[in-house]
Every structure is written in structure tokens, then in C-alpha cells.
Assembly symmetry: D3
Homo-oligomer: 293 residues x 6
């Protein structure tokens, strides 16, 4: 084939795809230059959060010391405020939001500053998570090692940020992308809608799935390959799944779930229970139980 | 040790490794400046495909609107043509291809434009995949959410691109790198040689393996941790595995496979069957069956 | 809310987080401009190792040929020496190292050049790993395909580098980050402390976990989802796990472990044994055994 | 000095400079996230203009051919529209503009699209400039050489763009930065307010100054070091220079000015005159004159 | 020629240049990993200075407001301290400095923090320079325009920074590179050793040269192409120029020098004098004089 | 105006400019993916030359020492060979070259390796230039200062590279862009065709012009603003300038030309002459003369 024939193929494909767009289902058109939800922007937002939550471990950390820490926190938070406002606004533009553009923008800023207000709380609960891993893993020598190299903590950080954003009222798309970023990096898939207590520890983690309506107490530990999923969900008259019905497990305080266990449905795993590896659990488990294969 | 001693170590290692190369097994030498298969280039090729298949979601999307869409499609496709030609050519240079360099180059361009010609078809089938996920997941609120955040769709996009390239005649190396990129991002490992029908849905997905000779019908859904693998493969007189023999399962239309199920060998899972979680299936399953642990 | 109110929230969060730091557990303060362990730096270190171990496949490879190979090896090794010294030094600064800064710097350089001295050995054993995959997978057409696209080899390369660094005396943090980088990319989690023989092959690999005290012989093959873990570990009087006690399995030569198998505790899997998929093994297995579900 | 003392100096300087800002003369505060005039953005705007005016010479030009040219023009112009709107808006925010923010934004977009409408005109007159250099310089072998390597044409391109923006109503700051960018690159300082006819040629060019109220006819040529400046300007009662009064020379058609000549004041250099090198001219020159030192 | 012949040429040139180095005059060898004076680093240092001196005009300025200004100043100054210390240390390593490495490093840090301490003074005098340009140029509409687009102010900023560093004791190389950077951008060549008073204004500026021992009073204005140079310099017995002897002009307060004037030797131009364009001045000029061609 | 109206303007401008291209004078179309002459590529080529000619001063110089120098030289030269071949080939594609593409490619490689062969010679003559500046400037303390900060040496390096390429047979476009890059950075405009002897020194340099047919002896020094130009050039019957006739001055050994002097036409400035500042010289000057204004 010669160059003209290649060009003809390209031109035909352009015409074909341009006309295919007309349904608009798989294409997205910004109306007035508003930003798009962006993985790159959200990645930077997570980096900014990390640098603020764990100063000296992440970010441009060469020169952090107590005297200059507030400067770094301030600059990073202002940047976080700007970028997060923009992405929250982008998220709103994806939904069926009927508010005016200016109203949406203002709301996005309010949510962003509310999130910043909650960062100290997020830091406090993350401290308990790091401690839980430290106390439970003989290999971990110090907090820094966990913060810098454990995939579990990486997934939990993203989850706690995403969960907070969801509570504040962010369009689900933004928290979803945030937890999916961690899923991609770590193989740990936590839905931002799940509720998870303090001192939460994940070991190895690849293959873990935690569903949207899970409720996890304090001091719970999960190993790799654990699924906390839905068994089935009721459908309406048109055979469409009914949304919002609790359908994932409740794990009470101090539960440990070993590798490969599958726990399905709105069941309760009672306090202090131990769920053995590769088990298949679909009914309530009394407090203090030990379930094995 | 002083600087000279460090230098001596470096120099000795250089000499040693330079002479080790002579077998040529683990080193690669370009003969005449031809390009190498490159993850970075292939990553950009995938990004270009995404921007063309889902305009406004990927790529430099700030300004997409129907009036200017053809410009963006055109520029992206021309770049895609150029980069893909180059990588297909690079793939050929890795094989035992006896053709002249100029012939290989021309062939690579023909394949690249043929691929572009097929992009509308790829888009059509991907539309069914997005719809399948949308219809099957109560959490998904709109197509955009699926396109932007679901790992399953990310893996399927790469698979459909890689499969098309393989059919067009690309050296296996290029499609393999493309599906491995998705494997790395999502934990979903689909061989480009597998055959997969319309309305294919993956949920969560981490740990899924779909082997080279699998045949999957329409409207099939897989959960995380599912293996569609080979049970064993016949060997020749020299005890080497014989290539190309069908050795992976066939899944007929409307099959659902739950998390952790393992299906091995050239068996057939009949229409409308449901394979339960953590099952181990190595024999044919009649249509409409429900298999549980 | 107006701009001032947003600023107030930011300022309050700055103050709160700045004062929270005082415990110093989740923040890291460099005393005198020493470098931090850095994923980006370690990523580049791995890239340099790859370009030196597999010349022409990785790195700026357009122009590699036997005549100029030593130049490329030399430049890459000098850069590797510089970057690795810096990261090894950074690792030391994280520990409880009482040595002087200048002594630590000198030690880091010695370790870096020792590592470079061992690169030819690492290359030799990696050659056996590539061969093992090549011989065991009918789909693999040549070494290049394995080097460029197989996640298993990617994980093994990082493991062998990390293991070597650990043996040389590097602070555990550096090898851990290196194996975690591979874990994130491939879903394969190998602890740098494990001991692994020649001709080691991994297929697919997602979900594999290999614990710290594992000992793996020659010619062993693992499929996806295999766990070589600890069953339990003795605790001291204060209920803290005792460190350093061997607690993971020993796999003798020629063992094959199929997908999803879980092998736990300090048990021995005898030579030439085959462990079937989804099995749960917690006791010794005699040589030549075949274990199935 | 120790680290604390260094920190103290930094903290004192921060306080001092933060309080110094209060006059607001040398600091700039954006009210509501509006963009700032940006050299980097304007540089990219100029690159986009060049790629549109001289396709194949500038920009990502590897693949330009007549069949795909419209795609490239379209994408570049849309990007130009977006970036130029933003910078024109930024320019307005610097002035004493009393309009509403939304009105200013709309106006900036109107100006940007008006500029794009005028690009074909700009291209036409630039064609005459390139021709003039080509015809006047025995060393120039083709148009491409002039477009790619002559500083004179680089300065003229920026001037014609800046002049057009000024006529359209842009705040002077934006055109000024554009001509200063050329000044920095070429040593040729043309005020965007000057009026310059067709077939304008500059040779070498370093040190040329062309003042704000200059009027230059068609087919004029200037050598390096030529000043077309103001001799003096009337001042008002407060001894401040009165703005806007014509104070720079008029050069009629076909004038040539050799290196180092200085022409000052609102004088007229008649048609077809030749002004010799290093001359000092402050009075009218009749048509057809030859002035030498 | 074939590939081998090209390789041979390269290899011979390598050998030849490697052996040529032995004189060490045109090559530079770092002894122990110390940094090199770096244009890129110094460019960033200047950008940091600009962002601190003119906040909101330079740097990442999107979000500057009075409430968050101290954060930005603090972060930028800490980065400036780090980078400047490093470059000052690099400068010392170029000289014949006999001090220990650790002593040099400490000294460099002291100089860097002393420089930061003087930034408010530098800002104050720069304010007078901007005012002088504003008052003297009818075209300038506001301070921002001057700060963002006038080459004169760009050159003066670099000069004042370089002069301050020289006074503090920096090796001449660092200030020289800083003023050469401005020379390259603006065509204005000011030696860092020159002494220049307040309210210093430069118009256009291309071709200005201000020599090392110049002394310039307050409220002086220079136009393009002005040279303040040395006429001749006494030589010693070996015919080498004697260093450090004042050999450049003194310009007293309120002097104006028009375009292209050349003023040579250790002469004094008295207060309130006006030196006309293209003049050649090599003897003292009494206060209040007007010199023309 | 609304979005549609902006789009209409853009679309009309696209159509208009796309059709304007048809003359092909100001657009450039690559026939078959050949490279374009590229400022960015040539900039990198110059950087590679600098790093090879002045090792440790330019390039990635952190680790240069005599033991590893050959590695760095080798890698840089191989890269130089590759990039320069490509640009020389690009230059040929601009001319009226009738050779086959493959022949041109081979020729470009031959020229590139010939250039590399001449690098030691270029280094030798540049050594004399650096010495000349060092000996003539009391301010210069060491060679490093000159190499790193003197614009004169920067311009001479580019000239000597460009001149060598021209002699080897490169299309004039490539050397022209190289000298123009130096012109832009330094204000010194040296035509690559000029012939310049050893020990050539430039001081300050802004505004210097050295014409195509200049011949400059050994040990010549030029100050800023010096023009070595053509007075006039004979035209043919059609009034077009006749190319290639010597029309610029000859400066014999040991000539010094002070700031602002203009020397025009094919005249000879005899040995050991001194041409004073701001002079205008258009006739031969006897050896040993001193010319003043």
C-alpha cells in the first residue's frame, strides 16, 4: 500500500468514529472548559495528602525540619485545596447535578476546605493503622518502613481519604478513582463506601476485596486474597438490582481473617473470631469462634 | 576502600559482563538502528487508542466538542499510525523473519493502517462490554464512571486491542506486552490469543487468568481470582510441550463464574451455567448447571 | 464560604498538623541534608541494573552493539554506583546505626561496589531463571519475549537484586522497597530474605506470597496465587512475636506448586513433589509425592 | 553557625518580606484563581502560531502531509484558542478594567477567536517578509533556511502577532511580553505599537530598536544596530512625559538603513533613501537621498 | 563505510580525547562527588529569588494571597538556602581554597543564610529601580508590566543578586555565571563587581557593557549600546595586566547616557551630566555638562 | 459570541490556511518520515560536543574521573554519531539533492563519523582560544571560569563545530542553525563559512558580526559591536547578487579591533594593527597601523 491508501484508511476511520460519537455514550464533552476527572491530578492530590500526613516521608522532603514544617504544610495544603476543589467540581459536572456552575464551584471549594479541616482526624486514625501493622508483624522494624514500603498502608491511606470525601458529599466518581489507584498499585480493592474502624491491618494484601456496605470494627486484620463480598442482591420488578441495600459482611472488633477466606452476604462475624484460610463463610459466626476449612 | 578500589571493581564488572554477552542470549543487538519493542511507546499507543475510542475521557481532552472532534481524532490517529507502525516493525525484527528490512517496514505500515480501519469495530464491541458492566453492577451510576475507574474495562480494552493486532499478523511479542501492561495495572491476565464474545464483564478482577486457547461466548461474567487454565498438555517425543493444541476451557453464552473458581482443561461450560466461588472444575458442565463447592 | 474562611480552615489545619508532629512517629526529619530512601531513585537503580544485566533490552538501547557495549556498561555502572551508594546511605540513616556520618558514607560506597562486583553472578543465575521459564512454557518463543513481557521474571530480577543487597548488609528498608516495587507491578510478593535456588520459574504469578525464611531449591516452579507462609509464630513472655525463627516452608529441588495452593509453616516439601491447586498443606510432604485437593 | 541559626535567619527574612509586601507594589495577588500572564504560556502560544503559519517547520511535524494537515491545524488552533483566551483574560486582570469577571472572560474569548480569524492575513504578510529576505540575501538558498534559522524572521513573526493582538484590544502587557521574548532571543527590540508594511527585511539584527510610534512603509530593510528612536518628548506641567504623541521616525517605501545608524524623532525618511552605517539622523530626509557618515 | 568503520572512528576518537585530557586544563574532575557549578541550578536559584522578591509575579503563583504568603516565602527560602549553599560550595571547590571540605560546606551555608538575610535590602533597592523605570518611561503603565517584561529590570535583578553574593565572599565564578545568564537573555553585560546606586534605569539595553570597577551613583539612566569600559590597563614587568586597579568610569548622581555612547577609563562624569548618543568620552566631564557628538 | 461562533471562526481559519498551503512555499512536507532539521536536536548535539570536548564541565558530570572517562566519551560519541547522522540527513532532504534516500543516509553517517574523527583537532584549536582569552583578560582566574561563563567561548565553540561540518560537506542549513543558536545566546553572529585562526578571543561580544567570506589570522581579538561585513556586492544582469565572491575583510595575525568598529569590504587589515573603537574602515590598513576615530 502507498501513503495515500494509508491516509484514506485514517480518514475513513476518523469519519466513522466521529459519526459514531453521536450517541454520546462513550464520549464526553465538556460544556465550558470545566476540568475533567483526572487520574494524574488525583495522583498528585494523594501525593500532597501523603506529604502532609507523613511529613518527611513523601513530597519534596529533603529539608523538612520542625522550624520550617509549617511552611511546607501551608504550601502543600494550599495546593491541595486548589487541586481538590478543581477535581471535586469536575466530579460534580459528571453527575446529574442541576446547580449553576458558579454554585457548584463554590460548593467544591467548601468541600475541599472541609476535607482539609479533617486531615488531622485522618492522621490520627492512620496512626492507629500503622501501629496495628507494627504490632502485628515481627518483620517490621519501625514506622518508617511501614509507611514507605507496605502496600497495606498505601491502600488504607487511599481508602480513608476516599471515604472522607464521600462523607463530605463528593460525587462517587472521585473517591472511586482514588481507591482504584490503590487497587492497581496493591491489588487491594476497598470500596470507599465501606466503614472501617481503628487499628486496621492488612498483610500482603493482593486480591483483597472489601465491598461497599461492609462494616469493620476496631483492631481487625486481613490477609491476602480475602473477599468480603455480596452473596446476592434482591432485584426489583424489572430484574434490576436494588441499590443501597446492605449486602456485605459486618466484622466486629478484633476479628482476624486468614488468606483466601471468602465471607459473603450481610452476615456478622462476632468479636474476637478467627476465620481460617480458604474458608467459605456465608452465615453468622458467633463471637470468639474459630472457623477452619 | 578508596576511590581507585571502587573504580577497579566497576572496571572488572564491565569487562566480565561485556565478555559474558558473547552468548547473546540475554542481550539484544539492533542491527541497523531499528526500533526496539518499548513499553513506553506501547503505553502511549494504548493512550492514543483510548483517546480515540472514548473521546473526552482520555487524552488532552479539555477542549473536545463535536465541532472539533474530527481534528483530534485525525491527529491522534496519525500519531497512532506512526507509532504503531514503528512498534510492529520492531516486533518483526525480534522474530525469525526473513523478509528484507524495507519489506518489513511496508508490512508494518499496512498492518497499522488495517488496525486503524478496525477501530470502529473495536469501539462497537467495547460499547457492549461497558453496557454489560453497567447492567450488572448496581454501584455503577454511568458509563463515564466505568470507563474512568473500572479495572475490568481497562483490561478488556487492552485485550481487544492486542487480540486484533494478533489477528492482523503482529508478532506475538507486541500483543503480549500490551496485555501484560493491563495485567500489571489490574491483576487481570488475559492472553491475547483468547477468543471473547460481546458483553463481557469482569468484576474486581484481581487474579483472573484467561489462557491462550480459551473461547468465551457472549454475555459472560467473571469475578476476581477466576482461572481459566490448562490442565496438562501433551508432550512430543523429546518431552517438549506441543504448541497450538487447544487446552483451555470453552465458556458458552451467559455463563457466570464466581470468585476463586478454577476451570482447567479443554472442557465446555454449557450455556447459562453458574460456577460457584472457589470451585475446582475439570470436566464438562451441562448447560444451565449450577456448580458449587 | 468566602476566601477568608477557606484560608482559616487551611491555617488551622496547618497549626494542628504541625503540633501533632511532635511525637515524631509519623514524620521524618533529616538531620543534615542526608538523602531519603526514595522509590523514584530505587526505580532508576533497578532500571540501571536491568540495562546492565540485559543490555539492549532495557535502557537507552538504540545503539548497543558489541563494539560500544563496554562504554554503556561503564556509564551505567558508574551511575548505579553513585545512586546505590546514596540509597544505601539513606537506608542506614533510618536505622539505629551509631556510626559517624562519614563512616556510614564510606560503608555505603563499599557495599555499592561490592554489589556491582556481584552483578555477573546475578546475571548467571538469572540466565537459569529465564531458561526455566522458556523450557516450561510452550507459548514462549524466545528469551527476549520472556525478558520483556513476563511478570515472573520481573519479580525474580527485583528479588535477586534485593536478596544480594541484604546479604551485603544493606538496611532491610532498601531491599523491601525493591521487592515491593515488583509486588506492586506484578502481584508477586517475595520477601528479600527468602533463599531461592537456580532455574526458578513463576507462571502468571498474581497473588504469590513467599515468606522471609523460605528456602527454595533448584528447578522449582510456582503458579499464581501460591502462598508459602507462616502458620504461627512463637511469642515471648510479653506476647510479642519472636523474630528470626524459621517459620516458612522448605521446598526441595524440582517441586511444582499449582495455582492457589497454600503451604504454611516450617515444613519440608520433598524433592520432585507436585502440590496440586487450591490445596492446603501444613505438614511435611515426602519426596516424590503428588498432593491434590 | 548551626542549623538553628540558619533557620532563624530564614524565619526573620520570611517575616520581613511578608510584612514588606503590604504596600502591594512589587507583589501581585490574584483575587479568585484567575491566571497570571505567563512567559511559558505565551511561549507555547507563539509555538502554536508558528506551527499553524509554517506547517511542517515547527511543532510536532513528523507526519504533516496535505491529507492530514487540516487535523493538525484544527487541533493546534483549538489549543491556541484556549491558551490565548486565558492569557488575554490574564492581561485584562492586570489593568484597571472595571468589567465583571464573566464579561472579561467572554471578551477574551472573542478576542482570541478574532485573532485566529486573522491568522491567514498574518500568514500572507509574513510570506512577503520571507520573500524580502530571500531576495535580498545572496546566502539564503531557500525559504526553509530563512524560516528555521534567521533571527530577523523570528522577531518579525512575534511583532506581527503582537501588533495584531494590540489592534484587537489586548492589554499592552501581553503583546509586550511577546515582543520581549523575541528581543531576548534575537537582540531585536520592536515595540508592538509600531506600524510596519510588507516585505520588511532585517539582516543580522542584534541591537535594532524600533519605537512605539514608528511608521515603516513597504520594502524597507534594516541592518544590525539600527535605532529608530525618540529624540525627546514634551512633558506636561508636572514634568511627566505626555503619552501617545507621535515621536518616532516615519520610513517611507524602499528605504534601506545600514548598520549602527541612529534615526531619532518624528522625522520622515523619504522613499528610496539609503541611510549609511553609523549615521546620526535627526531631521527629515528627502526621497531618494543617500546619507553617509 | 560500514558499521565497523564508523565504530573504529568512534573508538579512535575516544582514545585520543581520553589521552588528551591528561593535561587537565580543559577537563574538570570532581574529587569526591562534590557538586559542579551548574547553570540549571543557578537558573532555579534566580527563579526562587524572583518568586521571593516579587511574590505573585514569578514562581508557582496561582494561589498567592496575604494569608498564605508566609508559607510560600518559607518554602522558597528553604529551597533557596539548600540550592545556594550547594552552588556556593561548588564555587569554592573551583578555586585554590585550602580549607577542609567540611569547613567549606559550613562556610557555604553561612554565606547562603547571610544572603537570605539581605534579601529584604535587595528588595528595597530593587523597588527604587522599578520606580525609576516607571517614572522615566511614558509607555510603562504599571509596576507589573516592568517586572514581567522589561529586560533592564531582569538584568538589574541578576546584577544585584550577584553583587551581593560577591560581597558576601562567594567565589567569583558563581556571580559571573549569574550576570552572564542575564547578559545572554538581555544583551546587557554588567560585571558583578560594579557598584551601582539606587534608582538605576536601563532602557532597551541591548549591547550595554558595565565594567568591573565602575561606580555608578543614584538615579542614573543608560540607553542601549552604552559601554562603560576600560581604556587601557597598566601591565607589570612581564607584560601581564595588573589586577584590581580601578580602570572603569565613575558616573555621579543623575547622569543620563544615550544610546551608543562609549565612556572609557577611570574618568568621572559629574552630577546631572547628559552624555549624548554615539559619543566617545575618555576624559572627565564636569557636573551638569551636556556632551554631544 | 457563543461557542458555536468561536468554532466557526476556527473552522474557517483551518480551511483557509489549509488551502493557502498549496503553494508549498511556507510549509514543509516530509515525504517518507525522514527527520526535520530540529533546533532541539541540534542543541543536544552541541551539548554532547561540549561534554566530549570539556569533560566534567558539561553533561552529566557528577562522576567523571580518569578511570571512567572513556566510558562517558564512548557513550556520548555514540549518541552524537546517531543524532548527528540524523540531522545531517535531515539537512540533505532540504536541499536539491538527487541522491537516493539510502545513499543520503549512508553519506550522512560517513560525515558524522568524519566529524567525530576531527573532534580532537577541534579540541586542540579550542584550547588555544581559551588560552587567548585567559591571557588577555585580567579578570579571568582559571580556564574553568572561561569555559563555563564566557559568551565569547560559547560562540567560538559553536562556530568551530559548524565550520567543520560545512567543510565536511553538510548542507548549509545545519551549520547555520548551530551558529544562530550561539547568536541568540550571546549576540555574536559568526557565519560558519568564515575562516578563523588559532588563539581567537572575543570580549563581551554582543553585536559582533563576522561575514561569510572573512579570513581571520592567528591571535586576533575582537570587542563588542564589531562588524566585519560586506560593503557591496556585484550583481548579475538580472540585478541578483552574485554568490560566492569574497566580499568580507581579511584580518592578519595579531590584529585587535575595539568596540563598535565597522570594517567593510574585501580589504586587508595588516599584521599587528589596532583598529580603534567606533571607527569606520573601508580601505586596506598597513601592517602595524593604529586607526582611531
Amino acid at each position: 500500500m502507498n501513503k495515500n491508501q494509508h491516509n484514506t484508511r485514517i480518514q475513513k476511520a476518523v469519519q466513522c468514529l466521529a459519526s459514531l460519537q453521536e450517541d454520546g455514550k462513550l464520549s464526553h464533552c465538556t460544556c465550558d472548559g470545566e476540568p475533567n476527572p483526572s487520574r494524574d491530578e488525583l495522583k498528585e492530590i494523594i501525593e500532597l495528602c501523603r506529604s502532609v500526613l507523613f511529613p518527611g516521608f513523601f513530597g519534596d522532603n529533603a529539608a523538612i525540619n520542625p522550624a520550617t514544617l509549617p511552611y511546607h504544610l501551608g504550601v502543600n495544603m494550599e495546593r491541595l485545596f486548589s487541586k481538590l476543589s478543581s477535581q471535586l467540581y469536575a466530579g460534580m459536572c459528571f453527575g446529574d447535578d442541576n446547580r449553576q456552575m458558579s454554585e457548584r464551584k463554590a460548593l467544591a471549594k467548601d468541600m475541599a476546605s472541609e476535607f482539609i479541616e479533617k486531615l488531622p482526624e485522618i492522621k490520627e486514625i492512620l496512626t492507629t493503622d500503622v501501629e496495628a501493622i507494627f504490632n502485628g508483624d515481627p518483620a517490621a522494624k519501625n514506622f518508617g518502613e511501614i509507611i514507605l514500603s507496605y502496600p497495606g498502608i498505601r491502600a488504607i491511606v487511599n481508602y480513608r481519604i476516599a471515604h472522607c470525601l464521600l462523607q463530605i458529599g463528593a460525587n462517587i466518581l472521585i473517591p472511586r478513582i482514588i481507591t482504584e489507584m490503590a487497587h492497581s498499585e496493591t491489588g487491594i480493592d476497598i470500596h470507599p463506601g465501606a466503614t472501617i474502624g481503628k487499628y486496621f491491618a492488612i498483610d500482603h494484601g493482593t486480591g483483597i476485596v472489601i465491598g461497599e456496605t461492609c462494616i469493620i470494627g476496631n483492631n481487625v486484620k486481613l490477609y491476602q486474597g480475602v473477599t468480603l463480598g455480596a452473596k446476592s442482591f434482591p432485584t426489583d420488578a424489572d430484574n434490576n438490582p436494588i441499590k443501597g441495600i446492605p449486602r456485605h459482611p459486618i466484622l466486629e472488633d478484633n476479628v482476624v481473617v486468614y488468606a483466601g477466606a471468602t465471607i459473603l452476604g450481610r452476615i456478622t462475624i462476632g468479636k474476637n473470631s478467627v476465620i481460617g484460610g480458604n474458608t467459605w463463610v456465608t452465615t453468622d459466626v458467633a463471637a470468639g469462634s474459630v472457623i477452619t476449612i
